[in-house]
Amino acid sequence: MAVRETNRTIRKQPNKKRSLLDYSLICIVILLSSFGLLMLYSTTSYVDQIAHAGNAFYTVQKQLVFTSIAFVVMLIVSQIDYHVYKRIAKYIYPLAIILGILVLFFGKEVNGQRRWFSLGPISFQPAEFAKLTLIITLASITNYCYLALKKYRVLFVLAVVTLPIFIPVVVANLSSGIIIFGIALSMAFIASNKKFIFVLSIGLGLGACVLAFKTGLLEMILDGYQMDRIYAWFDPVAYSSTNGFQTVQGLYAIGAGGLLGRGLGESVQKMGYLPEAQNDMIFSIICEELGLIGAILVILLFILMIWRFMVIAVNTKDFFGFMLVIGIMSHIAIQLLLNVAVVTNTIPNTGVSLPFISYGGSSVLFLMVEIGIVLNVSREIKLEN
């Protein structure tokens, strides 16, 4: 703990020894993670049993280890004064760019794309690191330019800072790129008081996308496989044997769920029909087993979490901490929105995992780190109050 804060504690609230963590946020995280593990077990047990000699716990065991480590990391991070990130931003920012570029050449190739670093048993996705780095960097920059925030120039600066991180990531993985873009956009939107320009540019951007598609320009920009996904998006059933396959299988699962679902553990689609069921598509299995009611409860839990972020952000007096919370909140919210939108075929299929629930080590680790940061920010509120 920085000396300055400690002093203030003594000065303002001499009776209280230490602040408490935001327990409601911790509760939500624990609930989501446990629910995620349960659904992950339900999703993977059938396939694991066949693939791993009867070991139905194969995948969930690994994820349990990841989650436990990540949870401990979260608790540790929650104890680290978030102001230090202001100082490390200038180190991790170039690191994220370098890792992002390196992975394009030296990453492990999976399905023709290099997105991972493989270090023995541990895989690490630089995109996850890039997201966190971007949040910290943008928070630092806005904090640094605090006095100039009302100027358009700041938006330009933010864009220039974001681009070097964004470009390697979007080359490796479009969906991570979209998330990074979304985070930067949200943070800039909050920091700047020029709100109207965002509404205008989002409108223009969407218009440009439609125009690009109609004129065939999009076909030149995007890779063939990405274009095919867009066609499959319009009519997934027609492409059900090729690009629409995963989407259609996901829709089968969702459709089968109905209001109350088949019941926990009763999914049929998980029995090898739905590719990546444990990963990007786990939400459709939740829908299939727990129905619309289950899906609503999960989304409500996320809304609660976002609500908590908002409460923390609004109550934070410190602008840097405020911006950190905004970045983290938008990160989780964008990923959630994209994931559910993909699963319901609201947008073209792009691989985005569902925070805290999808299978994946680096994803849960970075999410927990982010929660840890938010917890630390929230801690200051208590001090101030």
């Binding site: 089968a256 619309l292 908002m310 934070t316 602008f319 909140m329």
Partner: protein, 585 residues
């Protein structure tokens, strides 16, 4: 340290609201998918998830006029093994080898093969299946199945038809009454995973099959059997290609027998008879031969009817009033029409004769003159009135239509030849149906087999009604025709069909097959009885007899013999024919 400002906080609230709105609309989308489109996706995925095993529905039985079963189902078993469930493979192999009389090596290979289900043998007799079931071996499955079975093998084969591997009718009544007979297959639905492995504890969904309806037909096994014997005998004696006999009730069109020898074995419909080896035949050649073997000439093929058609020419001329029974004609042995000299069968000529005598003599010049008196237009309108250009509507598939000159192409020569049954073609069934109407008082009938459809538990589903046809001839002329035709049998060209004590009407025919002069004939006889009120009418055709080929000589006596044997069975009593002859004169 900087402080966050109010506009920052407002921004957070806006952002949060946007997120929540986004999530809510996605929930709306979810609700749409999960509630509104649920059925649509469920149906699609059900197909994907479940393995369907059919339970064959029992096909309806076909009964003859006496209630005798002529087409039914036999229960057969399919023996299969399920690898995962076998506990004692040695015992399984031993039992299956001995019960099914299979080679050990063959069975062992199947039992030890790692598959979900391996079929050992199909079409196993039920008794053997039951025996295997009694061993109660784990992993051995005995599934019962139905196979179509015809107790009389070849009886009325071309009429009944047979069924294919899916239990669907292929020819004959089996096709025509498919919808009634087939029933509704049941299903067993089992849940499987993506690899197609059945999920163990998933509930099976069983939809019971519904048995097909039974069909009751007018065909009489006893008459059919006897007619087949007779036909076969003639065919052998005359070394003919084919002999057909059709017997029906002229009053209502119920068909009692329809014979086309050689028949084929309905229980082995794909085995070619009359062919020593199928080696060296292409599949197409083989199929052509099968189609030929299955062909029902009485309805599928047309032929030149020859002199039997004089019945129709006569009836038309009498009805139109262009001739009366006592009109006299002169036959020098030929008749010249335009530039053609058409011969009579009797080269020396019949001399002066009345119309009745002309019919008894089957004299061509008489009928040429009668036909010319009618003229093309009137003759043609009688063709239509007698429905000769229409199909009879018989309840068998593939009925052929009459091949006839167009009226505008019909000159006097054509008219002359048509008058005595040449230069056009009809099916024997069409010919006999029209003659039925001519002798039954003038009412057209629909020839048919189907009488009634009943459900498997005996409830009547449908009475097969056939509308009473149009009146095509006056009662008076019908009676005159009966009397003339009775004289043909009692005194004229058909007297070899005469049976002591019975009044039988009839007409013979001998038609030379095309091309003329090749020495191939079709000999035929059409007869009905009792002559004054016909209860049965029949036609017999002998295709390419060797040696004597006159219909009156070879067909008439056979038909007479057939009549003599079935009249007592049908309860047709002997009558005194002398009185009727007197009335005519």
């Amino acid at each position: 340290m900087h402080w966050s400002k109010t506009y920052h906080r407002t921004g957070v609230v806006i952002l949060t609201c946007c997120i929540i709105i986004g999530l809510t609309s996605l929930l709306g989308r979810l609700a749409y998918l999960m509630i509104v489109q649920s059925d649509y996706y469920n149906e699609l995925s059900e197909e994907l998830h479940t393995r369907e095993r059919k339970i064959k529905a029992a096909r309806g039985t076909i009964y003859d006029a006496n209630g005798t079963v002529i087409a039914t189902n036999k229960t057969v078993c399919t023996i299969s093994v399920i690898y995962n469930q076998i506990k004692d493979p040695e015992k399984v192999i031993e039992v299956l080898c001995s019960e099914l009389e299979l080679e050990e090596e063959q069975v062992r290979k199947k039992v030890e093969k790692y598959t979900a289900r391996e079929i050992i043998k199909t079409n196993v007799e039920k008794s053997i299946g039951d025996k295997i079931r009694e061993y109660d071996l784990a992993g051995v499955k005995v599934d019962e199945d139905y196979k179509r079975y015809y107790p009389y093998d070849s009886l009325a084969s071309k009429v009944l038809g047979f069924t294919g591997s899916d239990n669907q009718g292929i020819i004959g009544l089996e096709v025509y009454y498919e919808d009634y007979l087939k029933g509704l297959d049941g299903r067993i639905l089992t849940l499987t995973d993506a690899a197609g492995i059945e999920v163990d504890d998933a509930a099976e969904d069983r939809i019971e099959p519904i048995a097909g309806n039974d069909l009751y037909i007018s065909l009489d096994v006893n008459i059919q059997k006897y007619a087949e014997q007779v036909a076969k005998k003639v065919m052998e004696e005359k070394q003919a290609k084919q002999v057909s006999i059709l017997l029906m009730n002229p009053q209502n069109g119920e068909i009692l027998a329809m014979v086309n020898v050689p028949e084929f074995n309905l229980n082995e419909p794909f085995v070619l008879t009359n062919i020593e080896t199928t080696d060296g035949l292409t599949d197409k050649e083989k199929q052509d031969l099968l189609n030929k073997m299955w062909r029902n000439s009485i309805i599928n093929d047309t032929y030149e009817p020859g002199s039997i058609f004089k019945v129709i020419t006569g009836a038309a001329a009498l009805e139109e009033g262009v001739v009366s029974v006592d009109d006299t004609f002169s036959c020098p042995g030929f008749y010249v029409v335009e530039d053609r000299k058409i011969r009579c069968a009797k080269v020396t000529g019949h001399g002066v004769e009345t119309f009745v005598e002309g019919t008894m003599n089957s004299c061509n010049p008489v009928f040429i003159q009668v036909g010319l008196r009618l003229g093309v237009d009137r003759f043609y309108s009688y063709f239509q009135q007698f429905q000769l250009l229409k199909k009879t509507g018989v309840d068998l598939p593939g009925e052929a239509t009459t091949i006839m000159h167009k009226p505008e192409n019909m000159g006097e020569v054509e008219l002359a030849t048509v008058s005595f049954g040449q230069s056009f073609q009809v099916t024997p069934l069409r010919l006999l149906t029209t003659i039925s109407a001519i002798v039954n008082g003038g009412t057209m009938v629909t020839p048919h087999f189907g009488v009634e459809v009943r459900s498997a538990d005996g409830e009547t589903i449908k009475k097969l009604d056939y509308e009473e046809g149009e009146t095509i001839l006056s009662e008076e002329i019908s009676e005159t025709m009966r009397q003339i035709l009775e004289k043909v049998v009692s005194e004229g060209g058909g007297k070899k069909a005469y049976i002591e004590g019975y009044s039988i009407g009839g007409k013979t025919a001998t038609s030379e097959k095309l091309p003329r002069g090749n020495g191939k004939y079709i000999s035929a006889f059409m007869g009905f009885a009792p002559a004054d009120n016909p209860e049965i009418i029949g036609i017999m055709t002998i295709d390419e007899p060797v040696g004597i080929y006159y219909g009156g000589t070879i067909a008439a006596p056979v038909m007479g013999d057939l009549f003599a044997n079935i009249f007592p069975y049908l309860g047709i009593e002997k009558t005194n024919t002398v009185d009727e002859n007197a009335t005519l004169q």
